[in-house]
Symmetry: C2
Subunit: 567 residues, 2 copies
């Protein structure tokens, strides 16, 4: 490839809407171009990186017996009605009508299509397990696109679906995919990827893991034990919270707390720690009048993902001004009279005593609440966020909380789709059963952007060799010099002949422009042919990660390049 | 790949809706599965064929300087408004709103996206020519899907867009693409492909060619001169029509023709040949009251594509019963009084005399019409279909008309998109100009189906080696025989080691099932390991096209396979 022909506008200025480095650098290097909110065109370098990522994934999927197929982008409503997701998924799924008025959708994921595909073709337990995968365009009408290719609306995803006789077989296979994913991210050159337990969300199912690239700009919070193996997405993370009960339970007393309504102010006024209070947090069920009232230890926060799972309904923050029954700022669980309200108590309150809580009356709180004495028949559920420093549920070491970008996920789906879509297979006993499914995803564009996020410096991108758009950036300095022209062209031809992927900067521009474009684009190896180096019969080879900068005899250059590339 | 694991249901029965062999066989072999009207899932073998076709196309596009990119499937209305096609394209383009109410479309083609992509990145004539291409999903809401993968709604297309300084440069590049396309179809193994001149349709532009696979089941009619190089799609084909003028022009006479209203009946009643009549064919302008009245020599047919271009409006057949002015069955050009009607005369009538035509009066016709004498200031346009046996416009040999499937197309677009989307580039004179564009398409699924259509027999598909899903079908007969089991597995491992793509039929089924599956799937080479062949230390190698069936020593098998594959 010649730089003089490469389509892509390289710029010095960061795009004004770029909040993270990978977004800014991919745009500045001319790798990606915005078409509409969350919709991008990819230029040749980005396309080449995607193809290399896809090749790595394909290798690893084939190695665990995957069969590559292709399911459609556009699917009929009927298919999604079979699984129930036509209605259960909200406005992030695009729906439209065709010319005859039939309802179609754009695929956000392909569980339904995968079951449709194998339903008739796999009839016997002897054919199991099978795994089918594809690289296919997905469209999700994200409310909040961000970070360039990190969170978009249209993207290519590798999605895979496996089918099993029983849960044991799924778990065995799940472990293989788990390892294959580790290989994939390693081979791409991602260094700080961890697999964490996660929520199953709209997929359904039970066990799930996310692969998280740890980075400050990540939107997900991950709880990690630095001592043992415990890692979990904040949405499902737990901690070991032992709070001691006071020896003596005081009596309940009503105390005047004036305008102190938030828990910090109340605790301060009464001279108690926040962990000795029970605060109320209120939500509503989406699209309904029903309220969800949560009580939790005052020093903790509600984890909305856990809360959703606990109430099994979609929730939103509540506007308490509209409530006749609740005294905002002074809500307490004791002597509370409400209707059409789900009430939940977090596990942190279990068996606690001498707690402060609202008196359900303006300007008053209660002290001396004893959960065991003052409440009957209440169940405690885990709806609290884990905070940094809390104790690991496995080994009791203080936990870390880090940020991460989700670069892949794997799910144990159970029979949610095979049951609802009526896929059966004959067992060894001759009886039909619903196979157990797993599903496994990696977004290609996000993987590209994640590597860019992890691997860059102030001058630009730094691609790992395995996925670099080209391995070598061949720089001719003073292309009007006939010796440079000839040697550079000769090296270009030699590199191509030797299977080295090279972009040749044949432009009639200054060394400064060429070097900065090379740095910005992040090509791992720079080879410079200049009048000065040629005077000694040499070329300069420099690595983008700055671990090498040396001159080599022209005739040794190809050999050195192959050595660097490990060919 | 193991046959025991391959997902795909092989059946003996043709699907009831399959009208052509490629459709029936691809379904019967389990290669494709219908999801909705014109929307298919591809199983592993079909996906592998597509990948090989894509590889061939990628090679040829790269060889002429193409840069692979990726434009989005979903695009904003604004982009298509810039070119004017948001309104000019009808209901075959899918339009929908996103969650914020913004209009989006599904890409049917990507001229707009390509101009958007290069518009800012290419600023100087020195960067031209450039060509960018992609493999991307298109969705066209076809009213009439047919033929399995031949005419569908969702499909992957290789589309390419080139940009040029001037028409000369475009024509030079166009010639390169023309040849690259010939290479592509040759390399895929298509034998009867011809490039023909074609209509530019919704793309705009002037010159265009279609690549047609000649086959009886093709929907397009192609005019071909068996002597010289003339080839054209019926939509634009012309012929050399010299009809002699009679020496003496008779007077116009009104004759009684009773209920003879169609031209055959009138000619018969009056004892003249149809070529001595002038018939009227009436259309209306779509969505308007305006009529289009065409006069043409009685033995010829109207070519609606030519007619559309002549009137530059979309047309539909007219219902003359509603007309107050026209006497259906007796319409004539002489003494005709009509309003709100476009009148056209086909070139076949130019200078003719002694013609029969309608008298604009029930039960009467006129004879003795002389176009030169009886009409003033009329222009003759070519709106006639070419018929088999007419004379070649180049060499006067009798023309053939054949059917074909369009497998690719190339267009000279001119500045339609660069002007409307305001893409300018600085010329060598420092002045901005609109680059000239070309665009070039190949549908991948249709290419696959076209090869299947051209290359099959009663037993199934016959894939050319270059795009076969696997090169070898390894058949173990009596896998319960330990010698067979061991030798077959050994050969399987050797083939993989030698880079031979092999599917291993390891199933516990009868030889008949295995052989018929192998034939149905169309794998070029069959290798059979059976107790009988092993008794002589041999395996049987048979080619799907029946040009070879012989036994070889086990130790020679890999060498023979490599020889067959030309490795």
């Amino acid at each position: 490839m010649l730089m003089s022909k490469l389509i892509g506008e390289r710029t010095k200025e960061n795009p004004s809407d770029a909040m993270i480095a990978s977004h800014a650098l991919l745009v500045r290097a001319g790798f990606i171009k915005l078409v509409s909110n969350g919709i991008w065109s990819l230029a040749t370098p980005a396309k080449r990186i995607c193809q290399k990522i896809e090749k790595i994934i394909r290798d690893e999927m084939d190695a665990i017996g995957g069969q590559e197929a292709s399911f459609p982008v556009v699917m009929p409503r009927e298919l999604w009605e079979q699984s129930g997701r036509y209605t259960s998924i909200g406005s992030e799924m695009v729906r439209f009508k065709d010319r005859t008025g039939r309802d179609l959708v754009l695929g956000m994921t392909h569980e339904e299509a995968a079951v449709h595909f194998v339903r008739d073709a796999v009839n016997s337990y002897q054919q199991l397990p099978v795994m089918v995968y594809q690289f296919q365009t997905k469209f999700r009408d994200e409310a909040r696109c961000r970070g360039g290719l990190i969170r978009v609306r249209e993207f290519i995803m590798k999605d895979a679906y496996s089918f099993h006789i029983d849960n044991d077989d799924l778990e065995k296979y799940y472990a293989k995919v788990y390892d294959a994913y580790i290989n994939i991210f390693n081979r791409m050159g991602m260094k700080r990827v961890v697999a964490v337990k996660s929520d199953t969300g709209m997929m359904g199912g039970s066990v799930a893991h996310e692969y998280m690239l740890l980075t400050d700009v990540g939107e997900d919070a991950i709880v990690i034990c630095p001592k043992c193996d415990y890692k979990a997405n904040m949405e499902v993370a737990v901690s070991n919270r032992i709070s001691k009960r006071d020896e003596i339970s005081e009596e309940i007393k009503e105390v005047y707390t004036a305008e102190a309504t938030d828990i910090a102010a109340v605790a301060k006024r009464l001279g108690v720690s926040e962990s000795k209070t029970m605060k109320a947090v209120c939500y509503c069920v989406k699209g309904s009048e029903e309220l969800v009232l949560c009580f939790i230890r005052g020093d903790l926060e509600i984890n909305e993902a856990k809360l959703k799972r606990a109430v099994q309904k979609d929730i939103a923050p509540a506007n308490l001004n509209a409530s006749q029954e609740l005294q905002a700022g002074n809500i307490g669980a004791y002597n509370l009279n409400v209707t059409n309200t789900i009430i939940l108590f977090d596990k942190s309150l279990e068996n606690q005593n001498n707690l402060v809580t609202g008196a359900n009356k303006a300007e008053y709180h209660l002290t001396g609440i004893d959960m065991a004495r003052d409440f009957k028949d209440i169940e405690f559920v885990d709806i609290a966020k884990v905070a940094k420093g809390e104790m690991c549920p496995i080994c009791n070491a203080p936990l870390d909380v880090e940020n991460g970008i989700e670069v892949g996920n794997i799910f144990q789906l159970g029979t949610k789709y095979t049951e609802s879509m009526n896929m059966t297979v004959l067992g060894s006993d001759g009886k039909p059963f619903h196979p157990i499914m797993g599903c496994y995803g990696i977004g290609i564009g996000r993987a590209l952007a994640s590597v860019a996020q992890e691997s860059h410096d102030k001058d630009g991108l730094i691609w790992p060799m395995a996925i670099a758009p080209w391995q070598v950036y061949l720089c001719g300095i003073r292309m009007d010099n006939s010796e440079v022209y000839q040697k550079a062209n000769e090296l270009y031809a030699q590199m191509i002949k030797n299977g080295i992927e090279v972009i040749f900067d044949d432009r009639d521009t200054s060394p400064g422009v060429k070097f900065s474009d090379c740095d910005l684009m992040g090509i791992p190896i720079r080879v410079v042919v200049s009048p000065r180096s040629l005077a000694n019969g040499e070329v300069e080879i420099q690595l983008r990660d700055k671990t090498l900068k040396e001159n080599y005899k022209c005739e040794d250059a190809i050999g050195k390049l192959k050595e660097i590339m490990g060919k």
